[in-house]
């Protein structure tokens, strides 16, 4: 059974249709790319998936513990609890908080103590906080950020900020991870490191990943299948090789070096 199935997803803002009749299917464990020219509606699809927008019509079903659950219309925090996490196209870290706090906030839904325990500082509180800190540091280690755990997020170099966004999303223990242009603004070296790390976390954490990217080297290298969006409609889908040679896609924008 597929992990995520999107059927006839449509979103209009007043007179403008941003996304129209989009269908997508993602199996568990896949690494899928979502590409398209700027303004095609890719981030809108992410926003619809994560509950930031409510679809005008269509359905989004996530496979939760064996049964398909309709997640469109749910609030973002509930969708995250069900197992969908995302990063943002324009970095939305908690800039004035430490790296460690950014992660710990994402872990909040999984803590085991109530408000009262925090107020009077029970033993359970201290135990949970210890556990939280350890888990956070383990996650940070993936991207070699744990030595910077007390740094303010805004003081990290750009590349590390993008990495931190990914770690933060992973801290919510998702089954499906949505990455919105994770390589934006990175140089070729950084992109290579990112590509390897994405492959690594996918394996180690058993993640399914849906990825928006403009950097074709990354997309073609790690994506198993690709969906192509243009002006809000799906114009092609298939394996990287098929997409590379698809006339419609090339027409839409794939004139760049791959």
């Amino acid at each position: 059974m597929s992990l995520l199935s999107i059927e006839k997803l449509t979103k209009s803002f007043g007179g403008l249709t941003a996304v129209s009749n989009v269908n997508m299917n993602i199996e568990k464990g896949e690494l899928i790319g979502l590409i398209g020219p700027n303004g095609a509606g890719k981030t809108t699809v992410f926003n619809l998936l994560t509950g930031v927008y409510v679809p005008s019509s269509g359905s989004i079903k996530l496979n939760v513990e064996g049964s398909k659950k309709e997640i469109s219309g749910l609030k973002p925090y509930n969708i995250t609890k069900i197992g969908l996490a995302r990063t943002f196209q324009n970095i939305r870290l908690f800039k004035d908080l430490t790296v460690l706090d950014n992660i710990r906030i994402a872990m909040h839904q999984n803590i085991n103590y109530k408000l009262s325990s925090g107020l009077i500082r029970t033993n359970k509180f201290y135990a949970e906080e210890e556990r939280l800190k350890k888990e956070a540091e383990e996650l940070l280690d993936i991207f070699k950020l744990s030595n910077k755990k007390h740094e303010l997020a805004k003081n990290l170099p750009y590349g590390e900020q993008r990495h931190l966004e990914i770690v933060r999303a992973m801290a919510t223990k998702p089954v499906l991870l949505l990455l919105d242009e994770p390589a934006a603004g990175m140089n070729p070296n950084e992109t290579v490191i990112l590509t390897e790390t994405i492959a690594k976390i996918r394996k180690e954490y058993n993640l399914t990943i849906l990825l928006i990217e403009h950097d074709m080297s990354l997309v073609m290298k790690i994506c198993e299948r690709i969906y192509v969006l243009d002006y809000g409609t799906m114009i092609a889908s298939g394996k990287p090789d098929e997409i590379k040679h698809n006339k419609k896609v090339i027409e839409a924008y794939l004139g760049e070096d791959v």
Binding site: T50, V52, K75, P76, Y77, T80, K81, A85, R86, F88, R92, L93, F94, K95, D96, L97, T98, L100, D101, R104, I105, A106, M107, H108, Q109, I111, Y113, L115, S117, G118, L119, I120, R121, T122, N123, F125, Y126, E128, E129, L132, H150, R168, A169, A171, T172
Partner: protein
């Protein structure tokens, strides 16, 4: 159940020393009853400022109606206190005031905290005004515009100190827990917070309600110290007074609120006969701070950032 480490023991000793010093000065009349009023005002304002800071500074929800919760605490506290006229009654009054304020805070918070920024500010202002008008009109219970007289005085230095310290500890503990971090994340970036699994409405209401709870305590303490309350005392001007303390000390710094409360209480005492001048100074203070140093005195720093004692992880916690 606290962890007995170096830092906590030192803090405890300092807390006890401050209490003892002031207590001695009071009993020996070195601090006259006139200045005792200043001390009472400082303690009550600390509680008010820190509780407002929780809502506005730490969670980023601009509330201009904090005085409304204070008035609920004051009236509830006074009524119970007058009824029972004993130390137990006084404490029951404080509990009643705090809980009443908490409940109203939740009721008001749930609908209004959906609003943002300026709109939230005006809505909270409106709510406080509605509370004031209600108290003005509930003549049978609150005695309307004439107010309540002869409220038994049980508030003294000891009680003030206990409640002030408790408030500071509780709110500090709240901030440094996962729930507190959830609130802070709302201030930082609400959309990101919600995408990370935080039920932003729940935590906004939580912060708001906790803030209201402590404002209620402050109100009850106030009414049992100053013998007399009426609805006008808890109007917009009072909310502004508290806001000035929070802004001056730093939106997001508990220590800042404490220092600012002390400084501004001193200014208020000095300028007692010149209340217009005091308000002009407050106004200029607000404007200058926003123009030249919007983070106030301490920004989001705390006193522990200046004294790194214990190990580093204790500081970060």
């Amino acid at each position: 159940m606290k962890v007995l480490n170096k830092k906590n023991i030192l803090t405890l000793i300092i807390i006890l020393i401050i209490y003892a010093i002031v207590q001695v000065l009071l009993t020996n009349g070195i601090i006259s009853s006139f200045y005792e009023i200043t001390i009472a005002t400082i303690c009550i304002n600390i509680i008010l400022a820190v509780s407002l800071n929780l809502v506005t500074g730490f969670t980023g929800q601009f509330s201009l109606g904090h005085a409304g919760f204070m008035s609920i605490g004051a009236y509830a506290g006074a009524l119970v206190n007058m009824e029972m006229n004993s130390n137990m009654g006084f404490l029951a009054g404080i509990a009643a005031g705090a809980v009443a304020a908490l409940i109203v805070g939740i009721l008001i918070g749930i609908p209004t905290l959906r609003l943002k920024g300026d709109y939230l500010a005006i809505a909270t202002l409106g709510m406080a005004e509605i509370i004031r008008v209600l108290f003005l009109n509930m003549d049978d219970i609150t005695n309307g515009a004439a107010g309540l007289f002869g409220i038994p005085r049980f508030t003294n230095w000891t009680w003030l100190y206990i409640f002030t310290v408790l408030t500071l500890i509780m709110i500090d503990n709240f901030i440094k827990s996962s729930q507190g971090r959830a609130c802070i994340s709302i201030r930082e970036d609400e959309i990101a917070a919600e995408s990370m699994g935080i039920n932003t409405t729940k935590y906004k209401v939580m912060a708001f309600a906790v803030g209201a709870f402590f404002a209620g305590i402050a109100g009850a303490l106030y009414s049992s110290y100053f013998y007399f309350i009426n609805p006008t005392m808890f109007g917009f001007q009072k909310s502004i007074d508290i806001l000035v303390i929070v802004v001056f000390g730093g939106l997001g710094s508990i220590t800042g609120s404490v220092i600012a409360a002390i400084v501004l209480a001193v200014i208020t005492t000095i300028l007692q006969s010149y209340s217009e001048l005091r308000m002009i100074i407050y106004a200029l203070l607000l404007i200058s701070i926003m123009l030249f140093r919007p983070q106030g005195l301490l920004g989001t720093k705390e006193i522990t950032d200046f004294f790194k004692f214990g190990n580093k992880s204790a500081k970060v916690e």
